[in-house]
Amino acid sequence: MTSQTSFHSGLLAPSAPVPEGLTDGHDHPAGRRYGVYRNNVTVALRQALADGFPAIVGLIGRENFDHLARGFLRQAPPRSPVMSQYGSAFPDFLASVEQLAQLPYLGDVARIDLAMRQSYHAADSTGIDPAVLQALDEPTLLTTRIDLAPSLRVIRSRWPIGAIWHYTLRGADKPSGGPQDVAVLRAEYDPEPVILGPGATEVLAAFQDGKPFGAAIAAGGAAFDLARLLTLLLAQNAITALRPSSSVS
């Protein structure tokens, strides 16, 4: 009898023997026929990862990517048939691979790829009319809470990851400079990674924590550019509701 445990055991182990009890339909052992399944499994999972992390493929090349993917597949095989969700542990995996120590930014660039995919499949939402925000008087505005789109993601990094991502996938100028935080925003159906200015990450986190507008923007510090962040959020339909304090019971 060939259990699924024994059939499964050799699929991700290329040197494992072909399980017992498998034939060519007559009396010959299955031999490389089993290898078809082994190959299908590996190729399909590697392809799913490569589709999900295009900037990493671009940075290190497909051959190197496939080599890394093989290791990741054995360590963290998918737990769900929804392949668009696969690979959330891949950025941490990249950051842990010793041979990649000279590319310390890879994990954080992979977080942008992952955030792009999560944003693409996130729930739909509608941005507010900017006039509604502009119509609020200052005391009301300062106590209003800001709801952000479920498709919005923010990645912090010690590396210029936004510039690296745009250089790799969009042909932008060669990256230079210091740390960059990146927001992934989805105005309609196409997510876009945008490099944030100083303090914006802290302000977005405060909005997401439900802090009132005044307290949230104070979290941005001295170099924070409020007009720049609000223009970005409104243009990308990323503010989905304003909740004045009077409406909160």
């Binding site: 498998l22 339909g25 031999g31 089993y34 998918p78 769900s80 048939p81 392949m83």
Partner: protein, 285 residues
């Protein structure tokens, strides 16, 4: 325009194609589009975004077949309740004209392998698969179609033929069948039996849909042909002939052209669908 949620109760006995997002505009602007579309269930399990928005638009114009590729109905373990719930959610809001899955397993010890893996045909696997089909049909509140696999090997322990195994599943669960004639041709070539003989023994009365697709050619350790079900090229002539042989006995059925890798431009896929239409017209003539 009929009410989308109640317009398309059944797949029509005409050609459809496996839907690919790159063909969205082509399909909507083609003056003579195909009669229906099939989507892979797992691609529409996010919370929102373009995939689901496109599917909503298409479902207003076309009958939709939801084709699952990840439920692991042949798995030794119980069905994944989370995945079954996702399928139910999709079928509830979309109300598709058909739901189908595979006689295969793809999950083991909660590891998903992203491939359709083979089963021995024994009394034990028959009982297990029948239980799983019952659970799916009860949960979804609809009859499902079960697709025959492409086989690259056989199990020494099998005591049922594939056709008898499928017929017995139909008898026990009242499910329907999705007959993939390319899979029949691939399996028959690989395991050295007659594809026409398979069709002659197959319970054609239960067929709710027929699949057509392309395959690749390789060989085994002994130089025997080994066909690989790749869905990456045009349907070959012997498979069209096997379709004719099938339709002559079954009468017209909904026919689907699958092309999942190296996906061609729309006119190439539409031409394959027209070839399927010609096969239907021959059986009606």
């Amino acid at each position: 325009m009929p009410d989308a949620t109640h317009a398309f109760r059944h797949l029509p006995a005409c050609p459809g194609v496996g839907y690919k997002a790159q063909h969205f505009t082509d399909i909507l602007t083609d003056p003579n589009p195909v009669g229906w579309l099939e989507v892979h269930a797992e691609n529409y399990m996010g919370d929102g975004g373009r995939p689901i928005a496109q599917l909503k638009v298409l479902s207003e114009r076309f009958p939709i077949s939801v084709h699952g590729v990840g439920l692991s109905i042949g798995g030794e373990g119980r069905l994944d309740p989370d995945h079954l719930a996702r399928l139910k959610h999709l079928c509830d809001w979309l109300d598709p004209a058909s739901f189908s899955e595979h006689l295969a397993w793809s999950t083991h010890d909660s590891h998903f392998l992203n491939d359709l893996l083979p089963l021995p045909y024994t009394n034990d696997t028959l009982a297990r698969v029948a239980d799983h089909i019952d659970e799916v049909q009860t949960t979804l509140g609809r009859r499902m179609l079960l697709e025959n696999p492409s086989s690259y090997l056989a199990f020494a322990e099998s005591t049922w033929s594939e056709t008898d195994f499928l017929a017995e599943l139909v008898r026990r669960t009242d499910c329907g069948l999705l007959l993939d004639v390319n899979n029949v041709f691939v399996s028959a070539t690989n395991l050295d039996y007659s594809p026409q003989g398979y069709i002659d023994a197959y319970p054609l009365d239960a067929v709710g849909e027929i699949h057509l697709g392309g395959h690749d050619e390789d060989e085994d350790d002994h130089g025997a042909p080994l066909l690989i079900d790749s869905h990456g090229r045009a349907v070959v002539d012997p498979v069209w002939q096997l379709l004719d042989h099938t339709l002559a006995q079954s009468g017209p059925k909904p026919l689907l052209v699958e092309w999942d890798t190296d996906v061609p431009d729309w006119p190439v896929l539409a031409a394959e669908a027209r070839r399927a239409d010609a096969a239907l017209n021959r059986v009606l003539a």
